[in-house]
Each structure stands twice: as structure tokens, then as C-alpha cells.
């Protein structure tokens, strides 16, 4: 299903354009604040924790573990599994799990990022590592 499913292209904006430019190179980026040291996702120009504007882009490992998931059994495009992945770098991100058995997902399971094409920049998803 994930092979045929059509995903919407990100609209992008000046604050997040660098994320999508990197995605086109297969890189999964997060933002880190150089003032307080915290990483966050999705990317903002102002750190949501300390309000410093000294945030920088950082290439994430793309590795993480499943925080939670739920398998939507029916939809117009077929079953899909939504969830959150806690990245190695700290932040948890909302995603779908793809290219793996969706009936055996488990909290704590190791996953890694994969990109899926759209008509614009590719979108990050996660699959079992």
C-alpha cells in the first residue's frame, strides 16, 4: 500500500525550507538550540524551550524507537499505522510506519527513517530497523 499511496507535497515556508531541501538529499534534519542545547522537532527558528534564536540545523541519525502506534484498520487508501518515534537525538516525531509488517509493531521497537516521494520534496517515514 505504501508503494502506491500518494502523499501530499509539503507547502514549505522560509522557516522550514532547509529541512525540505535536505530531505531531497535523503537527509533527515532536526533543529538544535546552541543556547540551551536542546533539540526539537518540527523545526522552529526560535527555540520552543528557552526562546533563543540561536537554533541550528543538525543532521539526525534517522534512528529511533517506537513511542506509541495505532493501526487504522480501514481508510480510503487502505490500512495505515500512525505513531510517534523517539529519535536517538531526543525529540519524538509523529510519523507513519511503512514497508514493514504493521500488525507486529511494538512500543520500544527500533526503527529508521525512509523518505517517500511526493510531487514536491520527499516526506520522512519510519520502517522497522
Amino acid at each position: 500500500m505504501s508503494e502506491t499511496k500518494k502523499y501530499p507535497a509539503p507547502v514549505t515556508n522560509p522557516e522550514t525550507a532547509a529541512f525540505w531541501d535536505a530531505a531531497k538529499q535523503g537527509k533527515f534534519m532536526i533543529k538544535r538550540c546552541t543556547a540551551c542545547g536542546e533539540a526539537h522537532y518540527f523545526p522552529r527558528s526560535i527555540c520552543p524551550f528557552c526562546y533563543s534564536d540561536k537554533t541550528v540545523w543538525e543532521k539526525a541519525s534517522g534512528e529511533g524507537t517506537i513511542y506509541t502506534w495505532s493501526l487504522m484498520r480501514k481508510s480510503p487508501t487502505g490500512p495505515y499505522a500512525i505513531g510517534y518515534v523517539t529519535l536517538k537525538e531526543g525529540p519524538s516525531v509523529q510519523t507513519n510506519f511503512v514497508d514493514c509488517d504493521l500488525t507486529t509493531l511494538k512500543i520500544g521497537q527500533k526503527v529508521k527513517v525512509v523518505f517517500k516521494p511526493t510531487d514536491g520534496a520527499p516526506l520522512p517515514f519510519f520502517t522497522v530497523a
Binding site: 502523499y7 501530499p8 509539503p10 507547502v11 514549505t12 522550514t16 525540505w20 536542546e38 526539537h40 522537532y41 518540527f42 522552529r44 520552543p48 524551550f49 513511542y67 506509541t68 502506534w69 495505532s70 493501526l71 487504522m72 484498520r73 480501514k74 481508510s75 495505515y80 500512525i82 505513531g83 510517534y84 523517539t86 529519535l87 531526543g90 525529540p91 519524538s92 516525531v93 509523529q94 510519523t95 507513519n96 512500543i107 511526493t118 516526506l123
Partner: protein
């Protein structure tokens, strides 16, 4: 400053319809406004405050005009939009406005047609590119909460099912309820899986309809004929993934709105005789009961089991109209109906089979948005005077 005792709910109305193909959304707003105004025994020309949320076609100014409110008198408007709990937030805001002398008779309306009409789209937030493709719906967003709650605390599907069972016990006495059949734990567990771990019977109904409130000053309320019900505590709060730091989907913003409301009221959850708890899903109720302090975090499963939420059976009668799980869920927003049944309980107007004896303190609590993503919560403590 406090709003404790500064505002009374003098008029209520719940639309009996659950399916309204032959009515407009604005018409439903007018019908519930008329119902609440007549219940209070006032004139629509007396209304000097109007509150509505995202379900009101065009927002406040088109609604004020359509409803024919008295614009020479209307002097306070609030269109705070926080999804299903908007109306509980409106109740608190109306009390604030009344306490500050900004209005004296406030009308709050909710109405819409998710079954037979088109729901207005919600404006996109800053997160849109990073989330919209993943298909978060109510079902799977609350499913994610339930999945993690089960993982962290050992909560079971059987325990969640008890919440639906209790709602169905109450709904059998509500002639307007969409689902009047009493169900068992096994029925819930045998219903189809919708989004793991939530079964179909863990989910609320989809219904057309609406409801309205008249909120007023103590002096005006005492001049009217209805039993006196006043707001003595109110809280509101919001929660989201907050940059993804320390994500914890096992609690909601109710963990902040609840204590704020109880503190203002000067009571504790133990004092509550009846609880209206937003039941978009069974997990919503379980998490809210924990967050409001009816039991410890993680012990909601034990608390709701074995009929503890059934009126006349358990310790905490909840949603005695059948709630969203069985009666209705107008516009996919459960906050208004939570207040309405709490007021009926305090007035002694609930169905005799579910009426709580000596019901003098009630809580109406709701959430809006998606518990598994970002959401608001609001808690109102109501007292019969």
C-alpha cells in the same frame, strides 16, 4: 479575584435531533438558542453577551445577526475555539465577563450536522507539513494514547469496555439516545477493531444536533423560576508535543485544568456527586478521571471497572444521559452536552432511573482537539444552591 459563585446557569437546552437532513446549521443554532432562552424564562432581547465556537456558521458576527440578537444591548462577544471543550471554556469566560460587569445575560450555542452536512475545514497550524500526511484522525490519535497507557500502566481493553457498558446502562433511559441497547464488556471486545487498541464500541457516535446555555448574574438567576445552579470553579489548559521533548501521551491538559477548577471551588474530587466527562472514546474518560484526580495516574482502569461509573451502582455516576458513547455527539464536540447533563442532575431533572440523590456538586469536563497530538481541556465545577 475569582469567578466562584459569580455566575449561574439559568437556561439549558439540548436539541432532541440526532439526524437533521432537513435543517440548516444556523437554524439548529437558532433552535437551541430559543430553547435555552425559553428554559430560562427570559427574552432574546435581554441577551447582552454571545459566545460561539468554530461550529457557528461564519463566526460571531454573522450568528449575532442571524439570531436577531439585540445589538443595541449586546456588549460582549467571545468566539474562543478549542474544539469540543469550547463551550466549557465559554462558560468560564462568561462568568469572568459577568463578574467584571461586561455582560449580565450570556448565550452560548453549539450546533451542527456532521451526519447530514459538510463540516467546515480547520485552518492549518505551523505543523501542517510535518504531520498532515500521516493521517491523524480522532480514532488513531486516541488509539495512540490508549496503546501507550496500556504499555505504561497495564490498562486493558476490558477495563476500557466498562466505560461503554456504564454509558449504555444510562442511555437505555434516554429516549433521544442513538444507542439505547445495554451492552456487555464482551460486546465491546467483540466489536470490530477500528484503530488499535480501540474497538468500534470504544468510539462515540456521530450525530447532528446541538445545545445552548444561558449564563447570568446571581441576582437575575434568583428572579427566574429554575432551580439555582452556579459555577464555583473553572479551569482551562492546553497541551501538545512541545517540540517532541519528553513526549507523554498518558495524560492530558486536564491534569492542569482540573486542579485549577477544584482549587477555585475549594473542594476535592471526593466531594463530587456526579461527573460529566467527555467521552469521545473510552480512553478519553479513563485519562480524564485520572487527570482530574478521581484516582491516581495509571489506576483509571481499576477505577472504571465493575460498574463503578453506573448511577446507583458505582461510586462515581458519569454521563447519565448516555454521553457521546451512546446518546449524541453534536458536531463531534462533546463539551456542551457535558454541561447540560450536569445541570439536569443538579436541578433534579435527570431521568429518575439515573438521577443522583442529593446531587449538589457536579463536574463537567471536556477536551478539544486530539489528545494524541495537541489539545485543550476545560473543567467546570457546578453547585446547586
Amino acid at each position: 479575584m475569582t469567578i466562584k459563585g459569580k455566575a449561574y446557569i439559568a437556561g439549558i437546552y439540548e436539541h432532541p435531533t440526532r439526524h437533521a437532513p432537513d435543517k440548516s446549521t444556523a437554524q439548529l443554532h437558532a433552535e437551541v438558542a430559543k430553547g435555552a432562552i425559553e428554559d430560562a424564562g427570559i427574552s432574546k432581547d435581554d441577551v447582552d453577551g454571545y459566545f460561539c465556537a468554530g461550529d457557528a456558521p461564519g463566526g460571531a458576527w454573522p450568528m449575532v445577526d442571524y439570531l436577531g440578537l439585540n445589538t443595541k444591548k449586546l456588549r460582549h462577544v467571545d468566539s474562543t475555539e478549542t474544539g469540543g471543550c469550547s463551550y466549557i471554556i465559554h462558560l468560564g469566560h462568561a462568568a469572568e465577563a459577568i463578574a467584571a460587569g461586561k455582560c449580565s445575560i450570556a448565550l452560548i450555542t453549539l450546533a451542527g450536522k456532521p451526519r447530514t452536512g459538510v463540516m467546515p475545514p480547520r485552518a492549518a497550524g505551523a505543523e501542517v507539513d510535518f504531520e498532515s500526511a500521516y493521517g491523524a484522525t480522532t480514532h488513531n490519535a486516541y488509539g495512540m494514547c490508549a496503546m501507550r497507557h496500556m504499555h505504561d500502566y497495564g490498562t486493558t481493553s476490558e477495563q476500557l469496555a466498562w466505560i461503554k457498558v456504564a454509558a449504555s446502562h444510562h442511555a437505555q433511559y434516554n429516549p433521544h439516545a442513538m444507542l439505547k441497547d445495554v451492552v456487555t464488556v464482551e460486546d465491546v471486545l467483540n466489536s470490530p477493531m477500528i484503530s488499535d487498541p480501540l474497538h468500534r464500541m470504544d468510539c462515540c457516535v456521530v450525530s447532528d444536533g446541538g445545545g445552548a446555555l444561558i449564563v447570568t448574574t446571581p441576582e437575575i438567576a434568583k428572579s427566574l423560576k429554575k432551580p439555582l445552579v452556579r459555577l464555583i470553579g473553572h479551569g482551562e489548559a492546553m497541551k501538545g508535543p512541545r517540540g517532541g521533548k519528553d513526549l507523554d501521551l498518558t495524560y492530558s491538559a486536564g491534569i492542569w485544568s482540573g486542579p485549577r477548577a477544584f482549587e477555585e471551588a475549594g473542594i476535592t474530587p471526593k466531594d463530587i456527586k456526579y461527573a460529566s466527562i467527555y467521552d469521545s472514546f473510552t480512553i478519553t474518560v479513563l485519562m480524564q478521571l485520572e487527570d482530574l484526580g478521581f484516582c491516581k495516574k495509571g489506576e483509571g482502569g481499576k477505577f472504571v471497572a465493575d460498574g463503578n461509573l453506573i448511577s446507583g451502582v458505582g461510586k462515581l455516576p458519569f454521563n447519565t444521559d448516555g454521553g457521546g458513547l451512546c446518546s449524541n455527539h453534536p458536531v463531534n464536540r462533546g463539551g456542551m452536552t457535558k454541561i447540560l447533563e450536569a445541570v439536569r442532575q443538579l436541578r433534579g431533572e435527570a431521568h429518575p432511573k439515573v438521577q443522583v440523590r442529593n446531587c449538589d456538586l457536579a463536574v463537567a469536563h471536556g477536551t478539544g482537539g486530539l489528545l494524541g497530538v495537541r489539545h485543550a481541556a476545560s473543567t467546570a465545577i457546578l453547585e446547586r444552591v
